[in-house]
Symmetry: C2
Subunit: 68 residues, 2 copies
Amino acid sequence: MPVRNKIKQIRKEKGIKQLQMAEDLQVTRQTLTAIEKGKYNPSLELAMKIAHYFDQSVEEVFTLEEEL
Amino acid sequence: MPVRNKIKQIRKEKGIKQLQMAEDLQVTRQTLTAIEKGKYNPSLELAMKIAHYFDQSVEEVFTLEEEL
DNA sequence: CTTATATGTAAAGATATCTTTACATAATTT
DNA sequence: AAATTATGTAAAGATATCTTTACATATAAG
């Protein structure tokens, strides 16, 4: 059950730069890039910070893939 | 910003045993105990599985503490 | 009281998450 | 075209998450 995210899409819609967002969330830009690219999933804490940063719920940003 | 959870409380309300729940979620009972006790936070994937297991949202089960 | 069931805890090891440093390419601006 | 800004990537190291094995205590049932 991999987790997919819509971070890049939402970030683009809101016109936010990776660097800006990384600083606001107090993580490195590399962390954000890796997560957007699906290299790994964020911790629960970071996932909640990201969702709330977008004024959205965790489920609106991250989805648990059913198949497999 | 620590993450708090209501897993034990919700599990008790639903009358589910740790072992039963651990098997359903395909994690060890020790993992569940540690998370309920706040020794560490679950991964995002496990957090979403737990919330959905309870038919609840991540935010209903896990809360991001504001202060600090 | 003895047995069984539910929960708590711990240590060692594996893998995942995140940082730091560094470099590379793509896209935008001048 | 040159400079600046935005994004992609990688490797080493630190810490977090999770498993396995094992034992301990608490609560309930016989």
